[in-house]
Amino acid sequence: MPDATTAERERRNGAVAEVTALLADYAACIDADELEAWPDFFTADCHYKITTAYNHAKGLPVGLIYAHNRAMLEDRVVALRKANVYEPQRYRHIVSTPRIKGGGITGGGITGLAEDVIEAEAGFLVVRTMHDGTQDLFASGLYLDRIDLSGNRPRFARKIVVLDSDRVDTLLAIPL
């Protein structure tokens, strides 16, 4: 990491705090099965994708879930509640401290992105608990996030969920 002035470090630490809080709220929303509130973590024209590390590294574009706006996320929640058949299950997210990759909060920015945008990444683990108590490490991976700070709350303008493994056990119903 290059030398940083005190002001830059303060901006970076402010960004870490902002993203940490957002990710904590995001994970809690999913883990508490409050999926109706999940789309509102995204901007209206967001891009959300779940992909694998292999596809991501090779530039292969297909996703397990691929949404080009918030309306598609809303449709997914309705489908999960009303259409899709899957056994009751819960997730528990453990999200790492985010690394700030770019953007800024106030007065300038870190890499020259617009100052109301932050780019960040964070690792995550998700344990899945089935209705009969069976528990497995269901997924681990990286969130590659672009966060828009211009609205009344921070929102994901882009969230790429990069799974470390190619393998998905049985099905992926609840989003990550």
Binding site: I50, G63, L64, H68, A71, M72, Y86, R167, T170
Partner: protein
């Protein structure tokens, strides 16, 4: 394996096993076939090493000389290699010395294949070309004079290609690939691979069930509108669809397809779009249903299976090769390879990616298929002597216009039973 006939003659009558498969034909399937380790081992010998063809790769995955892909036939590790003369070789991914896996990476490029353990090396055709310290060191040790490298080549597969799909078989006496597939299946494969493919991405779905439960599911149009409620829930008007089921003469392979009758396929999308703003039950983003009639024949869905483990799927513009991989009597995997074509424009690629939301482990109209096999598998204890029922659409195997039929599943069992000699 052949029921009571297999029991030792001296066994007392009371301990004689009941016949595994008492009924003739393909309408009653013994549940024991889904979890018996002896059956699983027999399938490896008679089906996966038998006179059948197995999907290995897309031609475009190994374009250059030396390009290889490590994959499996059944659960057996194999490597498929582009040879210097442009042909395609395949051999077991297992060193002839003491059996270490040769290629550890999924894809790569190699001039020769050298085992990491003791550095035996093989050429692009699996021929043993080098043995480390073959003559020993300073006249000591080494292989005996009788050792002949030619006795230690890797076991090869015969390969053949159809429309960019590379197949292999361990049985060098198997019928030619095109004869195995039959003309109707060949035509339907060509339909979705009319030009060189380009891979758009992979993923693997782990199934907690026997591989045959997934193979049956793919051939089962009966469940489609019952288990999968996505279209009904969002009131997507399916219009008047016509379609049907084609079963190959052997029964082994099938095609299930549907097309929009008279109407253009985009009517569905336009209707959904109109409803999006007004109908609380509609899709908020109907772009999911947008598509192109890229093959120019109005067919919006084609599910094709090649016995035992290949599925080629077209759902509108979403094109996928699925490979069913057995990983044990009660486990399997489905490897999903999404593809498009080299000359796709950006808008067509975007349609394929959007429609990919329909399929795969998170697919709107297919995620249930990942779980339903496990619902059967976990209910197997105690079902050993019982049989499932496949009587929808009669007792025969053959093409039908109706989709409320189990004819293509019976076809699977016709081929299976013949090969397994049960």
């Amino acid at each position: 394996m052949t029921g009571s006939a297999a029991a030792p003659a001296s066994a007392p009558a009371s301990s004689e096993a009941p016949p595994l498969w008492p009924e003739a034909g393909y309408t009653h399937i013994p549940f024991a076939l889904y979890d018996d380790p002896a059956i699983y081992a027999r399938e490896r010998e008679r089906i996966f090493m038998g006179p059948t063809w197995h999907y290995l790769a897309l031609d475009c995955e190994i374009p250059e000389a030396g390009d290889y892909k490590a994959t499996t036939v059944g659960d057996m590790p194999v490597v498929v290699v582009r040879a210097r003369d442009g042909g395609i070789n395949a051999f077991e991914n297992r060193c002839a010395h003491r059996g270490a896996q040769l290629c550890l990476e999924r894809f790569g490029n190699a001039r020769a294949f050298t085992c990491v353990y003791h550095a035996w090396s093989y050429d692009e055709a699996g021929k043993l070309i080098g043995v480390a310290f073959e003559k020993g060191v300073k006249g000591e040790g080494g292989m005996p004079p009788s050792f002949d490298r030619g006795d230690h080549n890797l076991r090869t597969l015969r390969t053949a290609t159809r429309a960019g799909l590379v197949f292999g078989t361990f049985d060098h006496g198997a019928p030619a690939l095109d004869d195995y597939l039959g003309p109707e299946i060949c035509g339907r494969i060509d339909r979705v691979l009319p030009k060189p493919a380009k891979v758009l991405g992979y993923n693997t779905q782990v199934l907690r069930n026997n591989w045959k439960l997934y193979a049956e599911n793919v051939k089962d149009p009966y469940h489609a509108s019952i288990l999968h409620l996505f279209f009904t829930t969002f009131r997507v008007n399916r219009l008047t669809q016509k379609g049907g089921i084609i079963v190959s003469e052997s029964g082994a392979h099938h095609v299930s397809y549907s097309m929009l009758d008279g109407e253009d396929a985009d009517a569905e999308y336009r209707a959904a779009k109109l409803r999006a703003d007004s109908d609380e039950f509609g899709l908020r983003e109907p772009a999911l249903l947008e598509g192109r009639d890229e093959f120019g024949d109005g067919i919006t869905l084609q599910i094709l299976s090649v016995f035992p483990g290949l599925v080629l799927q077209q759902i509108r513009n979403n094109l996928v090769v699925r490979q069913i991989v057995p990983t044990g009597p009660d486990r399997a995997e489905v490897v999903w390879t999404h593809y498009g074509f080299g000359d796709d424009d950006a808008a067509l690629t975007e349609l394929r990616l959007r429609q990919a939301n329909m399929v795969g482990p998170a697919g709107y109209v297919s995620m249930e298929d990942g779980a339903v096999g496990a619902f059967i598998q976990r209910a197997l204890p105690g079902a050993g002597g019982r049989r499932s029922v496949l009587l929808m659409g009669g007792e025969d195997v053959g093409s039908q216009d109706s989709r409320t039929t189990e004819t293509s599943i019976r076809g699977f069992w016709k081929m299976y039973r013949g090969l397994m000699d049960l």
